[in-house]
């Protein structure tokens, strides 16, 4: 018996805009019930990847399948299965949330109940209000509700938490997490690394159109070459040169009132630090261990972008 196809399968995706390669050789799969977050700096190719996935852009190369269906040759079948929220998608000023849900639902065979969606996305009280009168958060929730209007098996969200207040963002996180139990595959882009770490089963890091890292948050950190740091404060202060020569220390940077020591061996550096302080008559007033975070990984892998500028 052949295993069921992945909910999303992307292989060798390429997309160019003129001379700029916005997406290059991107490949990933998402299983039913899995949540994949795509992170990366502006212009990394996150939105282009999603737009290719949704059929809004024609890839130059590569294969995209949704539940085994070729998205390039059978786009309408794929659209039946996919719910999506775009970054920018305003409605006519006078259109109400109820009308928008009914309109979009009218193109599906078995649309979700608009009233249930209005309740689920906390829009019931504004169901008949013109779009122009909705707050930014309400408009964003309506865009999200529209992504579920066809009871989709695959959900694609482009920066869904942008513009949401903390309470709305918390509700959004619950909603995304709840898709696991509904066996829906979710792909979303975000600039919030903590959001990606806490919500995603796997994270893909895009940089300059390439998928430079893909795995669970744990796998990404385990595979990283970023070393832990010891943040040290002493009284009287120890000199930089002494600290930089400590056993295991590969780098010493000022941080606050003390120093941040990048180390290859926490225990050796700690022992050497204690001995140095004792010998110098200095008191260790603070010693903190800082393990590498997703933020560190992000900046490590994408630092050249900031230095060289975004490609697109």
């Amino acid at each position: 018996m052949t295993p069921p196809p992945p909910a999303i399968s992307v292989h060798g995706l390429r997309k160019r805009y003129g001379n700029v390669e916005a997406v290059s050789e991107v490949s990933f799969e998402v299983a039913p019930g899995e949540i994949l977050g795509l992170i990366g700096p502006n212009g990394a190719g996150k939105t282009t990847t999603l737009e290719c996935l949704l059929g809004l852009r024609a890839p130059d190369e590569g294969e995209i399948r949704i539940l085994g269906i070729d998205a390039r040759t059978r786009p309408d079948e794929v659209r039946e299965l996919v719910g999506a929220q775009l970054q920018v998608s305003a409605l006519p000023d006078a259109m109400t949330p109820r009308q928008a849900l009914k309109l979009c639902g009218a193109f599906y065979g078995t649309p979700a109940d608009p009233e249930a969606l209005l309740r689920a996305f906390d829009l019931a009280e504004r169901a008949d209000s013109p779009f122009s009168s909705l707050s930014a958060g309400q408009a964003r929730r309506l865009a999200l509700a529209l992504a579920f209007v066809n009871d989709p098996q695959v959900v694609v969200l482009d920066e869904p938490s942008a513009g949401l207040d903390p309470a709305s963002r918390r509700d959004l996180h619950r909603l995304i997490a709840a898709q696991r139990s509904a066996r829906r595959a979710v792909v979303f882009t975000t600039h919030f690394l903590e959001e990606a770490r806490s919500l995603c089963d796997r994270i893909g890091l895009l940089d300059r159109g390439r998928l430079v890292a893909l795995g669970t948050p744990h796998e990404l950190m385990a595979g990283s070459e970023i070393r832990p740091r010891l943040v040290v404060e002493t009284r009287p202060p120890l000199g930089r040169d002494d600290l930089a020569r400590l056993a295991g220390v590969s780098r010493c940077d000022p941080e606050g009132a003390g120093w941040s020591l990048e180390t290859e061996s926490i225990s050796r550096t700690l022992a050497a630090l204690a001995a140095l302080a004792e010998a110098a008559g200095s008191e260790l007033t603070e010693v903190r261990l800082r393990k590498p975070t997703l933020d560190d990984l992000f900046f490590e892998l994408t630092s050249h972008s900031a230095a060289e500028g975004d490609p697109a």
């Binding site: 920018v88 409605l91 006519p92 193109f107």
Partner: protein, 442 residues
């Protein structure tokens, strides 16, 4: 898909009536044009009758050049069409419902103009509502196709205004839409043949003319449908759902494909003398001199025969006083009979020949004298040029204009098949024409 189409159609119409801007441009501006035309042409008889087609064309043109593309482009700028693109099998029905909604909205503005013109100026309602509806459908299709092209080419709403004016102003000024063709010099009338506006005006005017030129109407409708097919195909092919997308080089070919029919129809009009402006008050205006000269006077039924008899000029000598009195009564009745006093001289002539035709087919005892009475009346009432053109129209276009199966109110009893009345009127027209042009001796 059908459900989506219908819901979007209904929603578009509802939302339109909630938009103050749409109401102003869609309804107040057409009313403004009506009042402006009314100020200029209120002394017509009846007022505005021959300007209604221009007014209606302006309304459709405004909806096509500005209303439709502004709505499409602003929705595209807001990302609405990107959202629609995510729906399965939705773009075509959504675009179709957008177009249909625009036609309904423009039709509403036209009905408003027709009703207000009647109410304010006493302009008659269209004489042939179905002909007007047919013309409106063709004009809407042609102009909305152009609107689709404008929407595809314009990157933003200000660009719609600029591109729309590039179409709107030439059509208004020298295209026969705003300034009547008859008021333009011959070179401008020739130039107007290359714009769709004049065909639109003529097609719509047929709904108001008492006896519209069916041949000319068919040509106008065919031209408009050709414009609609070309512009619609180009507009649909160039349609952009994404504001970030830009039209490529192939767009030039599609624009050329939309404009080539204008040139082709214009060239055809010039080569067939159709470039000359029609007098909207005269159904026979479309008759060309070539057609007139081609009329044959051979093989006509004899005047003393059964079909289309005409009494000799001195016929009254042999009539009884009662018959003379009856003929006098018929002549008096014809003087006040409304169909014989139509503002369209050619239609009036057709109505008079209609009386002779009824007398002929109904085998009225005085059929020959009645025909002679009518011939005499024609000579008295009409200038020779008008009479020639009107008779030629009846002879060459027997199916145009209005005829009756019964004219008992003028004193000629009997009821005949209107088709028969048309056929006999055509023969009488040739016989009368032959006499006027000296081709048939008395």
């Amino acid at each position: 898909m059908i459900r989506g189409f219908l819901y979007h159609l209904q929603l578009t119409l509802r939302l339109n009536f909630r938009s103050r801007q749409a109401l102003v441009y869609g309804y107040l501006v057409p009313v403004f044009f009506l009042l402006a035309f009314g100020t200029m042409f209120r002394n017509g008889d009846p007022p505005l009758l021959h300007q209604m087609s221009q007014l209606l064309t302006i309304s459709v043109l405004g909806g096509a050049c500005f209303g439709l593309p502004t709505a499409l482009v602003s929705e595209r700028e807001r990302g609405l069409w990107r959202r629609f693109k995510l729906l399965p099998r939705a773009l075509v029905p959504l675009l179709a419902s957008t177009l249909l909604a625009r036609i309904v909205l423009v039709a509403g503005a036209c009905v408003l103009q027709i009703v207000l013109a009647r109410w304010i100026y006493g302009t008659p309602f269209p004489r042939h509502p179905w002909v007007l509806a047919e013309g409106f459908a063709a004009v809407s299709a042609a102009f909305l196709g152009m609107g689709l092209v404008v929407a595809a080419l314009a990157d933003d709403v200000p660009a719609v205004q600029a591109l729309g004016q590039c179409l709107f102003l030439p059509l208004i000024m020298i295209g026969g839409v705003g300034v009547p063709l008859l008021a333009l010099p011959a070179w401008a009338q020739r130039l107007a043949s290359f714009f769709p506006g004049r065909y639109a005006v003529e097609a719509l005017q047929a709904g108001y003319s008492p006896g519209f030129a069916a041949g000319r109407l068919a040509f106008n409708l065919e031209a408009l449908l050709l414009f609609a097919a070309a512009a619609g195909a180009a507009g649909a092919r160039l349609f952009r759902w994404d504001s970030a997308a830009r039209t490529g080089r192939a767009a030039r070919l599609w624009i050329a494909a939309a404009v080539v029919p204008w040139l082709a129809v214009g060239a055809f009009s010039l080569s067939t003398e159709r470039w000359q402006a029609l007098d909207p008050a005269d159904s026979a205006a479309a008759i060309t001199s070539a057609e007139l000269n081609a009329i044959s006077f051979d093989q006509l039924p004899p005047d003393d025969g059964v079909v289309t008899p005409i009494a000799p000029p001195d016929f009254s000598a042999g009539l009884s006083p009662a018959d003379k009195a009856r003929l006098d009564a018929i002549a008096i009745n014809l003087g006040t009979w409304a169909p014989a006093n139509d503002s369209d001289p050619s239609q009036s002539i057709r109505a008079l020949l209609n009386v002779a035709a009824v007398a002929d087919v109904a085998e009225d005892r005085l059929e020959g004298p009645i025909a002679r009475t009518i011939l005499d009346l024609l000579f008295v009432r009409y200038r020779r040029a008008d009479l020639v053109r009107g008779l030629a129209w009846i002879a060459l276009r027997p199916d145009e204009g209005e005829v009756r199966g019964s004219v008992a109110e003028v004193g000629v009893p009997g009821r005949i098949d209107p088709k028969e009345a048309r056929a006999r009127s055509a023969i009488y027209a040739v016989k009368f024409l032959g006499r006027i042009r000296g081709r048939i001796p008395e």
